[in-house]
């Protein structure tokens, strides 16, 4: 049996830009979730998530020793920070677009750990 969680429950992400190319690093908080994410967060699925931005190419690089992935998406930044008309020409917020994905994990998988609400 499996249950569905948001990728945000399992992984961290940070995006960065070079010109019109975006990279999103996806890091498993618990390395035991790496196989499930590897099977489900494919380059094809990420291309679907970003479909509105019309990527010309999406590549996933796997980093098993880090329990991480690096997604590289070409042509998704409307020309990049010096050409985009949007507020986020760097694509810095786009890491959280990826983290909105739904993921199925086995019921036996560790329950995602949520830290105590942060006191500031």
């Amino acid at each position: 049996m499996t249950r569905t969680v948001r990728l945000h429950e399992l992984a961290n992400a940070r995006s960065g830009d070079k010109g019109d190319r975006l990279n999103v690093a996806l890091v498993c908080r618990d390395p035991s979730h790496y196989p499930a994410i590897a099977a489900q967060v494919t380059a094809e699925r990420v291309a679907e998530v970003f479909a509105a931005r019309k990527p010309t190419r999406v590549i996933r690089f796997d980093l098993p020793k880090l329990a991480a992935f690096n997604f590289v998406l070409d042509g998704v930044l409307e020309g990049g920070v010096n050409a985009s008309l949007g507020l986020d020409g760097h694509g810095k917020s786009l890491s959280f677009l990826l983290l909105d994905l739904a993921i199925n994990i086995p019921d036996s998988a560790p329950v995602p750990v949520r830290a105590e609400k942060q006191s500031v």
């Binding site: 961290n12 960065g16 070079k18 010109g19 690089f61 880090l66 991480a68």
Partner: protein, 455 residues
Amino acid sequence: MDAKVFIGSAAGFAGDRSDAGVPVVEALAAHSGPRFLMYETLAERTLALCQLERRKDPARGYSPALERMLTPVLAQCLAAGIRIVGNFGAANPPAAARRIAGIAQSLGLPVPRIAIVEGDDLSGRLSASELARRETDGKILAQARDIISANLYLGAQPIARAFDQGADIVVTGRVADSALALGPLLHAFRWRADDWGRLAAGTLAGHLLECGAQVTGGYFADPGYKNVPGLAEVGYPIAEIDSNGDVVITKPVGTGGVVDRLTVIEQLLYEIHDPAAYLAPDVVLDLTDVEVREIGKDRVRVTGARGKPAPEMLKATVCVDGGVLGEAEISYAGPNAAARAALAIDVIQRRMRQRVPELAIRVDAIGAVSVLGTSAITPDMSRPEAEDIRLRFAAQSANVTEIESLLDEVEALYCAGPAGGAGVRRHVTPRLASAACLIERRYAEPRVTLVGASA
């Protein structure tokens, strides 16, 4: 030498905090051995903006951040023997060196030995058409008339030579960000220029340091999921590197933030494309075998960097005039706000189709709290008002008249648009377009000049 080298990072971009370096310098001062403080302050566009400054005033054109960032730490660095390296020379390293000497004098300090690294500036050496032929993708340069800035990324060797010559402070223009750490390491450890494994390790250390707090809990916090204690006083990183290239990332005791496996991996992969081939001027870094291990509180060891021979070509960033960006905003709030905002969009689109039909206009509907909040309190983001919409219209053109036309139309919504339109703001911002080029190594002619105390 067997001792460790300590490299602290005090800035990850030109807009970084002025006081970031203070705890880093205090921590470095408590160590012995070779210690360095690095500043990365040159985003792609920053150098072009500095070049425009230099055109207006030959005494300027260095990073505007230099003065506010160096002033709080210069005395302690010089007293403790902590040497400084930064790319804050931007478009005018000699002027930056003079300014640093001036800061030292105004603080009553002896004038330090300052070395400048030049040779990154390609202006006058490659024409616009020669640069256009070397553009890697896109065709920005083919239509460009005026090249504002063209700079290739120098490597770590000239920085190492500058320290070899006894510099207390090394001021560069465009260098690879990671070279700001690799340069001090080449100087301290005498690594050979073809010792690819160690050069890769030093490049990795530089990559982890180059964005300041992004490796120590900055740009990481996500309350409830990724808690970061003391974010308001986040400590900036210090790397401890041994002669084999083993890297430990840590931060000053008593500062906020966190250094753990997850903060380090996020920065490790930041702005990386192929992890097996991160191109730097001195080496190609392969990250695929890197391991990240927590070895103590806020101490993470990073090992396993592999290196391949340096790339044949060097990257350059070229900036040209990009016209102007125009932005205008207006808010609609309360009952039926969404319908009134939609009507305002329709009005603008109809009128602009008649006036500047070819102008591409972006519309954002920003839906948080704005006109219904006040400046006196922080908006309560846990209960955003459902009907408080701020429209943002944006367009770009080489023709400022076209842009003014859009902004005028948005402003005219005040009297002629839907009911309740409020809070118009309009801005026109000059833009720079940037292109990446690959340049033959023969155009890199790094020069190191010692100025300051010895001059």
